[in-house]
């Protein structure tokens, strides 16, 4: 390839990375405005996330299929050209290039290293794929772009991850991409059979390509590891003899068959091992924690899995098991909820519910006409409903504690819960009325009560209850 073309491609790649990173940040910022909701395309059009909630939607399947076809043609281009986390890591790598070069503990793995040829990412990928079929998906913890949302959300978790990324730059380049990323591993597996590949044609054995951030080029065997090569075109300055060629690969002869077969076996073993680890982790997660659902089993092995959780989920979530499988814990809904009532769950409901969203009605209720969480959810873990459906789907049920409600305890006229109830025909009605007198004259005391059939558990009443100890609370499975 001509040098000028190489430079052009390299610049194009930088532009592409900048554009996609900007798109990511832009969609995130837009998602904070309740009246201009845009979905995050990086989480929506993603093969791994798609597997957690496969649905026959052409506009969803087509872009993902497109990504896979492009990978089968060009190789693992996603990581070098699109992936926002990849771009972020590259940025961090260049910032920390000096400390890395002077760091005696820096990792100088070579393409011949076992960890590069058969990266742990394959194990992660295996574990992630198996966990898709259990209640405890591992996708949320290993998906690169979910982490970016968490970083942009300025969550503690996100900053911890960012810290790890920055730290890893001191020890080596693209460490996440080479060793851990399951999405990269997936594209890597696909690019084993890609049509276009990078090959070494001439070599002066200068070892310059040891600088490859993905450690994909091995001058000793004149081999490029296709599952690690991210088509970065950064080699133009590096190679003194301009010995690289990117193009259609010749049909593999008999000589290269044996090693690839052996590699296939090792790779398969890695995936299988990961699968087993995934299965074990998933079952461990399912039985841990007091509020963990009795799921954790494979969906085809048992009947309907009934959740034992009492957490109020975002509106529209009815099937708890499906929700747990689909939720990628990206916390987009937590960030976008205009009422700020969606919170990330900690370990209190078990590992299965870790980082899933739940509702708190201390300060606000779920607005009757708001669907922001449903719209931003990239995976429809919070199902996208029509507004009319949403207004009929219960989140929970409000219950009045007559020992706390001031109407029952002190005969004070208070109907704040009834006032704010957004159900048109009001889910809070009057159990009975009583004629009373006080200094300013007669008045009618009305005792509030909840109509179970009407209440959708939006929590507006709980948020405004003026009693010292809140007398009306919403809970699930009440």
């Amino acid at each position: 390839m001509k040098k000028r073309t190489l430079v052009l491609f390299k610049r194009l790649r930088l532009v592409s990375q900048a554009v996609f990173l900007a798109v990511f940040v832009y969609t995130f910022i837009r998602s904070l405005d309740p009246f201009s909701v845009v979905e995050n395309p990086f989480l929506r059009f993603d093969p791994l996330i798609f597997l957690t909630n496969p649905r026959p939607d052409f506009y969803l399947v087509a872009p993902i299929a497109g990504l896979i076809v492009l990978t089968l043609v060009f190789g693992r281009f996603f990581c070098g050209w699109i992936c926002p986390l990849g771009s972020l890591i590259e940025l961090s790598d260049s910032i920390f290039s000096f400390p890395r070069k002077t760091n005696p503990a820096a990792i100088h793995a070579s393409p011949q290293s076992f960890l590069v040829r058969f990266p742990p990412a394959l194990v992660v990928l295996g574990a992630v794929v198996v966990s898709l079929f259990t209640s405890t998906s591992l996708v949320p913890y290993f998906h690169p772009n979910v982490w970016i949302v968490r970083i942009l959300s300025r969550s503690v978790l996100g900053f911890a991850f960012l810290g790890l990324v920055l730290l890893s730059s001191i020890f080596g380049r693209r460490m996440w991409c080479v060793y851990i990323c399951p999405l990269g591993a997936l594209y890597g597996v696909l690019s084993r059979v890609s049509f276009l590949r990078l090959t070494i044609e001439k070599c002066s054995r200068c070892k310059a390509c040891d600088r490859c951030p993905m450690q994909a080029a091995d001058f000793r065997t004149r081999e490029i590891l296709p599952h690690q090569c991210i088509i970065c075109f950064d080699y133009e300055k590096t190679c003194p003899v301009e010995g690289f060629r990117y193009g259609a690969v010749a049909k593999a002869g008999g000589s290269s068959f044996d090693p690839s077969r052996r590699e296939f076996l090792v790779r398969g073993a890695g995936l299988l091992g990961g699968a087993m680890i995934g299965g074990v982790l998933a079952s461990l997660g399912a039985i841990s924690g007091p509020g963990a659902p009795k799921a954790g089993r494979l969906p085809f092995s048992q009947g309907p899995t009934v959740s034992a959780t009492t957490l109020c989920r975002p509106p529209g979530v009815v099937d708890e098991a499906a929700f747990l499988r689909r939720c990628v814990r990206c916390l987009h809904c937590v960030q976008s909820c205009p009422n700020g009532i969606i919170e990330a769950t900690g370990l209190e409901a078990g590992f299965t519910s870790l980082f899933t969203p739940h509702l708190r009605f201390d300060k606000n209720g779920c607005d009757y006409r708001c669907q922001v969480c449903q719209l931003v959810c990239p995976n429809q873990a919070i199902p996208l409903q029509t507004l009319a459906q949403k207004q009929l789907t219960p989140i929970g049920l409000a219950v009045i504690d007559q020992k706390k409600c001031v109407v029952y305890t002190d005969k004070k006229p208070c109907l704040v819960c009834q006032e704010v109830c957004p159900i048109p025909e009001k889910a809070i009605v009057f159990a009975r009325e009583e004629r009373m007198r006080r200094a300013s004259g007669p008045f009618v005391l009305r005792y509030p009560t909840v109509v179970r059939e009407r209440c959708i558990g939006c929590g507006a009443c709980q948020a405004v209850c003026p009693a010292e100890k809140v007398a009306i609370t919403v809970s699930r499975n009440a």
Binding site: N364, Y368, C370, P413, C414, E419, S440, G441, A460, P466
Partner: protein, 317 residues
Amino acid sequence: MGADREFGIELRAGTHYHHAMTRREFLKAAIASSFYLAARRVFPASLVTRPDVGIAGGADYQKAVTKAIDLLGGITAFVRPGDTVVVKPNIGWNVPPELKATTDPIVVRTIVHLCFQAMASKVYVFDRSVANSRLTYVTSGIQKAAEEAGAKVFHVDEITDAMYKRISIPDARYLKESLINRYVLESDVFINVPIAKSHALAGLTLSMKNLMGVTGDQRGKWHWQIDDALADINRAVKSKLVLIDASSVMLRNGPTGGSMSYLKRLDTFIAASNVVSADVEAARLFGRSAEDLPYIMEGAKDGVGKASGYSVQRSSA
């Protein structure tokens, strides 16, 4: 502007009949008008008796609102050049305008327009919504309408010292002291623009109850003594001009509503110079008397306004 308009009408009436005018008529008219103009200069407003309440109707909200205020002497009777004005609509709920849980945006826009025609220096529009104001301001259409008319619209949900000031209310029945919005306290004119709706606890929510939106207090507990609380807050914050939006009134399941079937179309607007008289007139549209609504009577007792014996002027068109 009201006075100028009357002046203009006098002149135009004169020119219109010019060809038919005899000398005697001319002299009469000239003397009468010179007396009138002289009197206006000496006793600018006191000579002209204004009604306490003006009621106008019509499907064109902009015209009807302007007409209702004109019956009280026009906006210039309330807003003077250079004044800062707070327009306080009901933006309490995240409900689209056609369901009439919030003041109609056209009404708000019209009033902001009128204020600027009277050469107000600044017009502020806000409400401390019950629902999330980031949603209510947009859904109600009020933010857009008011900003298009040139008003400054902002959120007052954060209870800060910069936004609210604690005042004490002497001889209060319930609210000995209250946090009141500084813009309300420090502006020259406070215009109260509620929408008339049903309300289970208070009976109806009209202009007196609209003042729930100028406080920074925990409003929940007010409801335990709502009649006293409303009388107190209305004594502390005077509404110089009231305009009740009764274009379509919510007859039941207020104040949130949520169905067109709860609404009754009246195409009516009530302007008033005090909240009590305004609320009494608005209550009559629901077929209720002031005696049904204790907070109105308490307000009248406290001298906030007249619950009876006030003057009303209606415009048929």
